[in-house]
């Protein structure tokens, strides 16, 4: 049951009515949410639900033990490492075992040693990368005493890690931000519900109208990329940035919108990344919940440890940081290379004065950005598009061949726009996306001009109709695979 399906619409409608009409106390609301989360997960696999709840229960009790034993360093450390080993262990087992076996066999054969290992059949629990990171942050925050779990109950904790809108594709909520909300009494807030609904509509539009239509076209070109003109490959590389962005941010918007309609604030995941001035700016705006997680739990401790090593320490910490980001996406060398590529892109910025410093786009009359900033945005976009070739390719060799093919003599031939797969309306909707995002970036996200109710109705009706009329073949969100 995907968030962009009719089944989900009915499921959520029932949840919404019961949640706000029948349940007054936050305790009942939380228990109901846990049941709803479980039902949602059962649509995929009920057996793996037991694993999810079981692993959550173990981490919850280990977290409690860490907190109870805050005066005893040895016990606290023991419970902390046990918890870490348990949560990361299951992630490694489910997601990375076969990668390690394959890599070991390949490496041994390079050395001329014959080994008789073969990969094993492992069913990967849906959302394992997301809920494991939630569990790890829970343990670390308690261990660092930045989060107090004393008021948590088992069911509120389980509601947190299984929260259905974010279970498949995130965002990865932090315990500090999410769990206190479950303890508070939630009252029906009309404005938040309207805002949540609007965000769902916007997310649906991005996912179903832009991403799914682009997906048909891009997948077709990628399947036969060796037969395509270089110009087509360049267009597809550019469009893939839009596909990945609208697919993932669309799904995130739906998750945040659903959370908002249930009175819960879910972490932001995107902040107009298409208008990034450099790669550091891009990562401050792209998949924010993952990058901030890695920054807080990996980069910051590492850069603190290596602070005396100066810029070298910083570079190593950043590269390690991005290797983890890359590897988080999947057990594949190409994701490691993708992470490494982005890590290396930071190196010039470290040596530039104010290279890493955040600043807003300089604008002139009528809100037009400065020419230099426009060039910076385009340059960042191009780098991201190239890195996404590594991300999209079936393997590293294909990524390399695709990249090389983009610079062949057919670069100035007319690109193939397959109308069957990519209607002209999709390009029109990309333009709509950019215009709306430019407006929201200047004002604030989801703002309706003049704050008019009529315009809000119009916005929602127009975009719902666009979803109904122009949605592509429904595809799984790309990030649900991770």
């Amino acid at each position: 049951m995907l968030t962009n399906s009719i089944t989900f619409l009915f499921f959520f409608l029932i949840c919404f009515i019961i949640y706000w009409l029948l349940l007054k106390r936050s305790t009942y609301k939380n228990i109901f949410l846990l049941v709803a989360n479980s039902v949602f997960y059962c649509f995929f696999d009920w057996q793996l639900l037991l694993l999810l709840l079981g692993s959550g229960t173990v981490i919850y009790y280990l977290g409690k033990q860490i907190h109870i034993n805050e005066d005893s360093d040895s016990k606290r450390t023991l419970y902390f490492w046990l918890g870490l080993l348990f949560s990361l262990g299951q992630l490694i087992y489910f997601k990375y075992t076969n990668f390690f076996i394959d890599s070991f066999v390949d490496f041994s054969s390079i050395l001329g040693i014959k080994v008789n290992f073969s990969t094993i059949k492992i069913l990967v629990p849906l959302g394992v990368s997301y809920y494991t990171f939630k569990q790890v942050s829970y343990l670390i925050d308690i261990n660092q005493e930045t989060y107090d779990p004393s008021s948590d109950t088992l069911y509120t904790y389980l509601t947190y890690i299984t929260f259905f809108p974010t279970l498949l594709c995130g965002p990865i909520d932090r315990p500090n931000a999410f769990l206190p909300q479950l303890r508070e009494n939630r009252s029906f807030d009309y404005n938040q519900i309207v805002r949540g609904f609007q965000q769902i509509v916007w997310g649906l539009f991005k996912k179903m109208v832009i991403a799914d239509n682009l997906g048909n076209y891009i997948d077709t070109i990628w399947t036969h990329y060796t037969e395509q003109h270089a110009s087509t490959l360049v267009i597809v590389a550019i469009l893939y940035v839009f596909q990945l962005y609208t697919d993932f941010s669309g799904y995130s918007d739906m998750a945040i919108g659903v959370g908002r309609m249930l009175g819960l604030k879910v972490a932001d995941n995107f902040n107009f990344p298409l208008f990034s001035l450099n790669i550091a700016d891009f990562w401050r705006r792209w998949h924010i919940s993952l990058t901030s997680w890695v920054t807080d739990y990996v980069f910051t401790p590492l850069s603190f440890v290596w602070r005396k090593k100066g810029k070298i320490g910083l570079i190593v910490a950043i590269i390690l940081d991005f290797l983890i980001v890359g590897f988080w996406h999947g057990a594949n060398w190409q994701y490691l290379v993708y992470g490494l590529f982005h890590g290396l892109l930071f190196v010039p910025l470290i040596f530039l004065p104010n290279g890493m410093k955040h600043r807003e786009i300089k604008t002139y009359r009528f809100g037009m950005p400065h020419l230099v900033d426009i060039l910076r945005i385009l340059f960042t976009f191009a780098i991201v598009a190239i890195s996404f070739i590594i991300f999209r390719a079936p393997n590293l060799m294909d990524a390399y061949h695709y990249f090389i093919s983009m610079f062949s003599s057919t670069l100035f031939e007319t690109p193939i726009f397959m109308d069957k797969y990519l209607g002209n309306q999709t390009l029109f909707f990309i333009a709509v996306l950019l215009i709306v995002e430019i407006y929201w970036k200047k004002t604030h996200f989801l703002k309706i001009p003049f704050d008019s109710v009529v315009l809000r109705y119009l916005f929602n009706i127009v975009f719902i109709l666009c979803v109904v009329l122009f949605s592509g073949e429904i595809a799984h969100p790309i990030y649900a695979l991770f």
Partner: protein
């Protein structure tokens, strides 16, 4: 909360009305088109539609029987009322639609095939979308070509995922008429391509009991109306015929029905033309050249029967 309910209700009503308006525009535009999947439905319900002989069947008839050639032989205006990718249940829907708008024909030729009495499938169901506001269609055809409750009652719902139809209906894409229909017939000027079915080692005649019963009731209905019924097995490539594992079962079933209602059977499954691949574009379907030959033979044989 009251404010929310009020505004939510207003929103739903506005959304419904907007969807209904767009649905009507799309459906109306599609219905007026001459695209092959809409054309026969439009023709059958038009006032100028006037035919004495009708051929019912699946794709074998659609691409195989040129009604103008048959008309010339039998001297009765003939229409190819086949429905591509369909079995009897959907073809019955087409007959009922025909019946709802027209006088009974004098002759009905039914072309049964291997999969004629199999269960239904909703191939190219988008052809029914623009007809949803037509009451005769809802009454007669929908029971045979089921659409879901949501498709029937929620405006635009049935168009979800049919972007091509939406674009055509809104005038954003031209309606492709590169395959013009002639009295319901579609000529296929193609050469034989073995890969379409050629790799199949065997073919089996399937039947579903409820479909057989429904077919018998249909024959009874035509018989009561004193309409001349003729069964005609279509030509299929000789090699394909020999791959049918239970062809006798098929013959026995139709023979039984034919005997009961004194229906003559014309059999082209083993006709000489089935030995020549030049008349086919795949194992089951005649190309334009083959359809001319078969239509001439069919016309000639029907003429003999009608004498």
């Amino acid at each position: 909360m009251k404010l929310f309910y009020k505004r939510a209700l207003v929103f739903v009503i506005l959304l419904f009305l907007s969807a209904l308006g767009i649905d009507l525009i799309i459906s109306n535009h599609l219905q007026q088109s001459t695209h092959r999947i809409y054309l026969t439905w439009n023709e059958m319900s038009s006032k100028t539609f006037d035919y004495d002989a009708v051929v019912f069947g699946s794709s074998e008839v659609w691409v195989g029987c040129n009604p103008r050639i048959v008309s010339d032989s039998i001297e009765l205006k003939t229409y190819d009322c086949a429905l591509d990718g369909s079995n009897f249940t959907r073809i019955l829907g087409k007959y009922k639609y025909y019946e709802a708008f027209n006088q009974d024909p004098k002759v009905i030729v039914i072309v049964p095939t291997l999969y004629f009495l199999n269960g239904t499938r909703n191939y190219e169901k988008e052809q029914f979308f623009p007809l949803i506001y037509n009451l005769k269609f809802r009454k007669n055809v929908l029971p045979c070509c089921p659409l879901s409750w949501s498709e029937k009652y929620i405006p635009l719902y049935r168009y979800i995922g049919y972007t091509r139809e939406v674009r055509r209906g809104l005038g954003l894409q031209s309606i492709d008429c590169s395959y013009p229909l002639v009295d319901g017939y579609l000529a296929q000027p193609r050469k034989y391509n073995a890969s379409e079915y050629g790799h199949s080692k065997s073919f089996t005649f399937y039947k579903k009991n409820e479909v057989v019963e429904s077919f018998k009731l249909f024959i009874q209905h035509l018989s009561d109306k004193k309409i001349q019924i003729i069964f005609a097995y279509p030509p299929l490539l000789s090699n394909t015929y020999h791959k049918i594992t239970n062809v006798d079962e098929m013959y026995a079933l139709y023979q039984g029905i034919a005997d009961e209602y004194s229906i003559p059977i014309l059999d082209y499954m083993k006709d000489d033309m089935t030995l020549d691949k030049n008349y086919f574009y795949n194992d089951f379907h005649l190309n334009k050249k083959g359809s001319i030959i078969w239509s001439q033979k069919l016309g000639h044989d029907i003429k003999q029967l009608l004498k």
